[in-house]
């Protein structure tokens, strides 16, 4: 294996330069899109009623397994619901090995982990008109009363499959496949022109 000193990390968006469009008169607010690179991601398969697994996940992430269409976040770590027996664990870079070893040695029964860190890229979207902007390319009901903070869905943005998480009233996390990240940045910055937008690479 080549050490990271020889081959430095390269994020999914390392080839995409900064994009900026000025805030026009009458804009509801500027949108800021940033890459949140180098998070470790672990796919977890597990029955939702597995008590020991819930306890261990809570120890590792401060939250037990969230229910349908929910994400639980605490600091650098988050657990995102993907399906009735499937979750995505997000953690700071380099944490995957320890987390997976913890889960695999804990004798939790029918549980499986797969590291998927490099399969995905992560964007954060901030700004007052974020909901209107995201709704242009997404059929999910993003009304603030429905898509509340902590809601997480797998859906389609434009032509790309994504995981969309509301982290705040006007803040979202968009997780997409690495190879679709330049497309997602182009799509979302274009949809943001009418509000004014800044895309900042990591």
């Amino acid at each position: 294996m080549v050490s990271s000193a020889v081959l430095p990390g390269r994020s999914a968006l390392s080839q995409v330069a900064a994009i900026q469009h000025p805030v026009p008169k009458g804009s509801a607010g500027k949108i800021t899109i940033k890459e949140a690179p180098f998070h470790d991601l672990i796919n977890l398969r597990c029955q939702p009623d597995n008590k020991m697994a819930n306890a261990l996940i809570k120890k590792l992430t401060s939250h037990s397994l969230p229910s349908a269409n929910q994400a639980a976040q605490a600091g650098d770590r988050a657990v995102i619901w993907l399906g009735p027996d499937e979750w995505l664990i997000m953690a700071e870079a380099g944490a995957a090995n320890t987390i997976m070893a913890n889960i695999e040695t804990a004798n939790l029964g029918h549980v499986a982990t797969t590291e998927v860190s490099n399969a995905y890229g992560i964007l954060t979207v901030n700004g007052k008109p974020s909901r209107q902007m995201l709704a242009k390319h997404c059929a999910i009901d993003l009304d603030a009363g429905v898509f509340t903070s902590g809601t997480a869905v797998q859906t389609i943005m434009g032509h790309a499959g994504i995981i969309l998480i509301a982290t705040d009233e006007n803040s979202f996390t968009v997780i997409g496949r690495s190879s679709f990240m330049p497309y997602l940045v182009a799509l979302l910055t274009d949809a943001s022109i009418e509000y004014g937008v800044e895309y900042r690479p990591a």
């Binding site: 993907l82 399906g83 999910i140 869905v153 797998q154 859906t155 389609i156």
Partner: protein, 124 residues
Amino acid sequence: MLLIDCPHCGARDETEFACGGEAHIARPLAENTISDAEFAEYLFWRDNPKGVFLERWCHTAGCRRWFNAARDTVTHEFIEIYAMGSLPKSKAAKDAYASAWRRQTASEKAAKPAQKTSGKGAKS
């Protein structure tokens, strides 16, 4: 555009789903004695009714889980959504199941264990 009620994620846009065609097609048992033409009923023949049809759907862009649905092919109404491996409960869907052409086929009869081996119980 249809709103389809994924049993796990809730109502989602039709574009997130893929239709997997006719549901409840049982594979003839390995020890079947049916003809090639009858085996083709299982392998190739698919029903295409006007009215209630029992289908398999997958929430491909969401949770990626399969489920069964009873859908009216005329109105596109989803009459019932039910789990894989189970049979429908609503009257319209039950009637559609019972009256389906496939129920009378030799291939489906060959998918059930013969009476004398009852108790081993492979289920369609």
